[in-house]
Symmetry: C2
């Protein structure tokens, strides 16, 4: 049997290592082909694994004596702690010991440790962070998910970088989320192709001309959760700010629900009656259902789980990672990027350069 | 008695002129010092005013034979229809017939018509669009509102422009929303002052050094609705995208509520029990409570009401406009901008230029 070997940063995240090990073990119980390489405090992880009663062929542990905390400044921490779990994990990937990485540690440290160790897909200048958001389903067959990228690994981007976001995003949507022909939209302040600053105008034009991208044009902020596009391309500064705004609003909405819960017997009875529907809504707003944000552009897939991840979120992240390996996600992205760059040198008759 | 003369674009918006006239008349009944100058189809507006039984000293009508529709391309429409209501209204302001303008017409056309006619406050290069958002109240005395600007009149900005957003925003928060010492935050992707692209880093530093700005540092997307800042400064592209994302999410939340309403008797009973609290939540998410977005930077205040405004939203917009006149908002902004620019030429001992 071919194992899908997933490196797991056992020490990253608010609930590490307990919930990390628990979630990964849960994933192993769901899928027979996962092999976990835990990186972290060996004794601690071993005793946690004992409780999970997972067969020994399903896992190994690589000891890492240092830990990077969420609040550590990423640059200093990644440089100053070469034997931190995330650094060791990234080097394991570089050296071919695993095909994908899952970490719930600090986003900055994960990005930096991976950038230091793991080569990027040819022509990709910087890896990007994607977010998988809930999206309105207009009919039952709709995916109910939208990939938005970049959401914070970069600030601005060149036209070719933004096109590369589109290509990587659509392969993630296709290979991992199972959306056959993902619709790609460009986040902008209006639908007209002349909207936005010059990089956006030029990116709009470039996406129109990239045959492998099913480009539906500009989308606006109000469309982000509306399910009108499966992949939303944006510069990192805007993507990060929009993502965090939506997270903030989701949190407030859930908080308001809880406050209502606390006040008055009528409200309590009302909420109990609504419970099944509210649960559904909460599930749609809950990051742990989505298994984390993929970091795309490295020659190995990296899944950044939320810092607050508990076992369920980690389980989903590990299952996502396995799916990406099984579907050869990175190879597909690599081929698509090569095709895109070759296309830039082809001059088709009747097409002007402007 | 001194009238506060407000020019009202009677033809702009989805429900013009009926709801516009109705809302303005309602405002006149709430405040004795409002004098409305309606711009639009004279006969139509006159017959609507008749129904409102408003004393004749409270209003006049200036005929404008043309209308700009929401879907008209702003540039062509504003140039091609010199006698459109918004063009006539802007010229009336320029010529001193009124102190503020309320329009529910297209944002682009409103901005352009006003830019063509109304002089800007000295040193302001471009007028900006502000949005008043609901904010969490941490204690009962908290304002429950946050001003975010720019949300779409510009794309990017220079350091001095962003500082001018802060100054105009804080005077709006103080003079119109009644927040005594507004806390100003800079929207960015992290709290550290070195975060974001160079304009943001430099703006952070400039805001720290501007004595009239009570600068609390960077705020993130998740803080936008949290009431941590009373004024949030951002570039137009990001502000517009964040605002529209939040509007989209609010709409989806209300829609989900309505869908729950439709399904099942238990849910219906539950919702009836929750109704008073849900109504409160809905009110917090409802733009018509906020009376519209101020356009700041002109020598007259312009309030852009939502295109879908009905009478209540228009009434609130007219009352806001009056408050800004009564509080000498524009003069305060002008003085603050002068002070800021004079400050740039002062060298304080012990302070380096970098």
């Amino acid at each position: 049997m071919k194992w899908n070997r997933i490196v797991i940063d056992a020490m990253g995240g608010d609930h590490a290592p307990e919930e990390i090990v628990k979630g990964a073990a849960e994933a192993c119980r769901k899928s027979d082909t996962i092999h976990c390489i835990f990186v972290g405090d060996e004794l601690g992880v071993r005793s946690l694994l004992k409780k999970e009663k997972l067969r020994e062929s399903r896992w190994e542990i690589v000891h890492a004596p240092e830990v990077i905390a969420m609040e550590d400044p990423p640059k200093d921490a990644v440089q100053g702690k070469p034997n931190a779990s995330i650094n060791v994990a990234a080097r394991l990937l570089r050296d071919g010991y695993g095909e994908a990485l899952v970490s719930a540690g600090s986003t900055g440290a994960t990005l930096l440790a991976c950038s230091n160790a793991i080569p990027r897909i040819g022509s990709i200048e910087r890896a990007v962070l994607a977010a998988v958001l809930p999206a309105v389903r207009h009919k039952p067959a709709d995916p109910g998910k939208t990939v938005m990228l970049d959401v914070g690994a970069t600030l601005h981007g060149t036209v070719n970088q933004l096109v590369s976001f589109a290509i990587m995003g659509l392969h993630y949507a296709r290979g991992v989320l199972g959306i056959e022909n993902p619709r790609v939209g460009l986040l902008n302040i209006g639908e007209e192709e002349t909207k936005g600053h010059s990089v956006l105008v030029d990116t709009h034009r470039a996406l129109r001309r990239t045959p492998q991208v099913n480009f539906i044009g500009n989308v606006e902020g109000k469309d982000v959760l509306r399910g009108v596009a499966d992949v939303i391309v944006t510069e990192g500064y805007t993507g990060n700010t929009v993502l965090k705004s939506l997270e903030g609003m989701a949190e407030l909405t859930l908080q308001t629900g809880k406050q209502i819960w606390k006040r008055g017997i009528l409200s309590k009875v009302g909420l109990v009656m609504l419970a099944p529907k509210l649960k559904k809504l909460k599930k749609r707003l809950d990051y742990s259902e989505y298994g984390g944000a993929p970091i795309l552009g490295f020659q190995k897939l990296v899944i950044k789980a939320h810092g607050r991840s508990k076992a369920k979120a980690i389980m989903n992240a590990v299952l996502l990672a396995e799916k990406s390996i099984a579907n050869n996600l990175v190879r597909h992205m690599e081929e698509a990027m090569r095709e895109f760059y070759l296309g830039l040198f082809e001059h088709k008759p009747g097409e002007s350069a402007s």
